[in-house]
């Protein structure tokens, strides 16, 4: 239905209501005529004027006032059924009624208009608060436009509204466009399917445009900050990877080459145990290289955001067991204690296995002689797995930096400092939390909180 139809319908309703009001009061005066002097009953027409003034405004109230006076004159004042008056005083009475009716209706219409204005402002305030809220919560203005448009449509009393940022599109047939401008700056256009009240539209579009302007600026600044941070991080990672490649890859390669040349050499006299030792060196160093390459791959996958987890239901027992078997004979020093009531966790098994392997591997490295404890328990809707070592523990500064890539921490080690960074990355990708603690009792504890389905 378009706005012309709506206005026409409203007018018809107002006219019919006005006529009915006059007719009703006239009827009432007929009924009361025998009980009271008719002249004193003219005041009853106020009951026709007042509701019309409140509901339909001053114009209709005026119409009803005049119609009432005419009806009073025609039906009740001698000579009846004419508009003439035999008694000159009656003119004065009629004039007084008319003035009273006009004053009353003007007052009523004004208070009605004020009330409507207040209501409109309250609506507008609710609308703007809603818009501001959704813009603040979201990082992408574009994603919120659909929701905001729906609110705006409601506020403007139109069926459909559509915000188009930076749009200069002409409105299509049956659509009209309202400019969204914040001061001098054009934000875009608001397309509506029917013409809203121009005053309401003006105030809504002005406030909406300034809110959108602020949100767009915030989004732009945020994006710049994220880009700068990503750049800084990727620079740090590149440097660290170069260092790892040049140092951490070269040293095992050197060891392997020395060992093979030793074995091939005709000038050296090697005993059986020497040969065995050289072969063992090649074996160890090859494994070390393999481990390093796997870590570098994991890290670059995380950095590229290519580590999309594939969540499935796992028991913690399976994941821990798998990590221990991956660690082989070294895992004999690990004591596992899992609460019997642990619920299954919904995570990517491969990735969480990497997390556990790296954490247990780290713990074994830092407490070379003491056992390492792996303790699992249900904790506030999560399964907490604690990896407790009895090594030197972590200082406050180390607690902060321990998950940074290439942070060697504590005692100098043979690792590349990638394990914990990777563990943290995979944990986060799976909606798990990983934290480091250094309890007063000594050693370091890493707490992995896995999302439980219980």
């Amino acid at each position: 239905m378009n706005s012309v139809d709506i206005r026409f319908k409203r007018q018809s309703v107002a006219l019919v209501a006005s006529a009915a009001a006059v007719a009703l009061v006239t009827g009432a005066i007929f009924a009361l005529d025998s009980f009271a002097p008719v002249l004193s009953l003219g005041v009853l027409y106020v009951f026709a004027v007042l509701p019309i003034a409140v509901v339909f405004g001053l114009a209709y109230a005026l119409l009803v006032s005049v119609a009432s006076m005419l009806a009073f004159n025609w039906f009740f004042l001698a000579p009846t059924h004419t508009f003439r008056l035999s008694d000159g005083e009656n003119w004065i009475a009629l004039a007084v009624y008319l003035v009273t009716a006009l004053v009353v209706s003007a007052l009523a219409a004004r208070s009605r208009a004020r009330e409507a204005e207040a209501e409109r402002r309250a609506h507008e305030a609710t609308l703007l608060a809603g818009v501001a809220g959704s813009l603040l919560e979201s990082d992408h203005v574009q994603n919120e436009l659909r929701g905001i448009s729906a609110r705006v449509a409601e506020a403007l009393g139109v069926e459909r509204a559509r915000i188009e940022l930076d749009s200069v599109r002409r409105p299509e047939p049956g659509e009209s466009a309202l400019e969204l401008r914040a001061g001098e700056r054009g934000i875009g256009r608001l397309f509506v399917d029917s013409q809203p009240d121009p005053e309401v539209a003006e105030s809504v579009t002005t406030s909406l445009a300034s809110l959108l302007a602020v949100a767009l600026d915030r989004e732009r600044l945020g994006r710049r900050a994220v880009e700068a941070e990503a750049l800084r991080r990727s620079d740090a990672i590149k440097t660290a990877i170069l260092r790892a490649v040049s140092h951490d890859l070269r040293s095992p390669l050197t060891a392997i080459r020395t060992a093979t040349e030793g074995l091939e050499s005709t000038s050296l006299e090697l005993s059986e145990s020497d040969r065995a030792e050289l072969l063992a060196t090649i074996d160890t160093e090859t494994r070390r290289l393999d481990h390093l390459v796997a870590n570098l791959l994991d890290l670059s996958r995380l950095e590229l955001g290519a580590a999309e987890p594939k969540p499935e239901l796992w028991t913690v027992e399976t994941l821990v067991g798998q990590a221990l078997s991956e660690l082989g004979a070294r895992a004999e020093r690990v004591d596992v204690e899992l609460a019997p009531d642990l619920g299954p966790v919904e995570v990517d098994g491969v990735q969480i296995e990497r997390v556990l392997v790296n954490l247990i591997d780290n713990a074994l490295k830092f407490s070379p002689d003491a056992p390492v404890d792996v303790v699992g328990e249900q904790q506030n809707g999560a399964v907490a797995v604690r990896i407790v070592d009895h090594g030197p523990g972590l200082s406050d500064g180390e607690l902060e930096r321990v998950f940074e890539p290439f942070e060697q921490g504590r005692v100098p080690s043979r690792g590349s400092g990638l394990g914990l960074a990777i563990a943290k990355g995979f944990a986060q990708a799976n909606g798990a939390r990983l934290e480091a603690e250094s309890p007063k009792s000594g050693g370091a504890t890493f707490v992995l909180l896995l999302p439980s389905t219980r």
Binding site: T286, D290, A294, L297, D298, R301, K310, E312, L313, W314, T315, E317, T318, V320, G321, Q322, L324, S325, A331, V336, L338, P344, G349, V350, E353
Partner: protein
């Protein structure tokens, strides 16, 4: 007649190292550097087993696997790299029997190859003894060190499938379709929890499984502990 193995890899060093070692282990070796070449050679002289690198120039390892399975029942062992579980699973679903991850140890490769060459044991004996476990197929009873275990029907079917495929890798898809039916072959979501429950019944220490090993992201393997 000795067992013939076709080795397919585009890296000459790996072909050479594998060739030497496998010959030393008593196998007869043929090599191919591309998938297309491998398929021709396999048609001319059908091998008993194929060792197939997944990353090949031209036709991929998975495609070779699928094509080969159309007309050959040779055991197929694929070579893959760490972290490439989806490719591994694709190859296994295309008919490969097992995989090893590069860099692999020779002992591991030979063990996997032997297991792949061995066909699934037909259910001939009514009672199967493996380590401390004793499975009575007729009575559907499982004992550990003589003590009767309470298994649900699904757990029993799971264990039977594993026991008849000792040492072999069973993919999630294979296990699900054998135990629960073909309609369930992609529902790996709950499989791990079922396996975990079975482990609690048959493993002396479920956190350090000795019988039922997880091949994370790929499937499970049932082995008989050495001692």
């Amino acid at each position: 007649m000795s067992t013939r193995i076709l080795v397919v890899d585009d890296e000459p060093q790996i072909l050479q190292a594998l060739g030497t070692t496998l010959r030393g282990a008593g196998y007869e070796i043929e090599t191919a550097e591309t998938g297309e070449d491998a398929l021709v050679k396999a048609k001319v002289r059908p091998p008993d087993g194929v060792i197939l690198d997944l990353v090949l120039p031209g036709m991929s390892g998975v495609e070779v696997c699928r094509e080969l399975r159309g007309w050959s029942d040779a055991a197929v062992l694929v070579l893959s790299v760490v972290g490439d579980e989806p490719e591994k699973v694709a190859a296994l679903d295309a008919g490969a029997d097992d995989y090893v991850t590069k860099p692999f140890g020779m002992d591991e490769l030979l063990a996997r190859l032997r297991a792949a060459l061995r066909r699934a044991q037909p259910e001939t004996e009514p009672v199967l003894r493996m380590g401390d476990l004793e499975i009575d197929f007729d009575k559907q009873a499982v004992r550990s060190r003589g003590e009767l275990l309470q298994l649900t029907p699904h757990e029993f079917r799971l264990l039977r499938l594993f026991a008849l495929n000792q040492g072999k890798l069973l993919t999630h898809r294979k296990i699900l379709s054998d135990v629960w039916g073909a309609a369930y072959q992609t529902e790996s979501h709950y499989l791990h929890v079922y396996v975990s429950q079975l482990r609690r019944k048959i493993e002396p220490d479920p956190a350090r499984p000795r019988y039922l090993l997880t091949e994370t992201g790929v499937g499970y393997r049932f082995v008989v502990p050495k001692s």
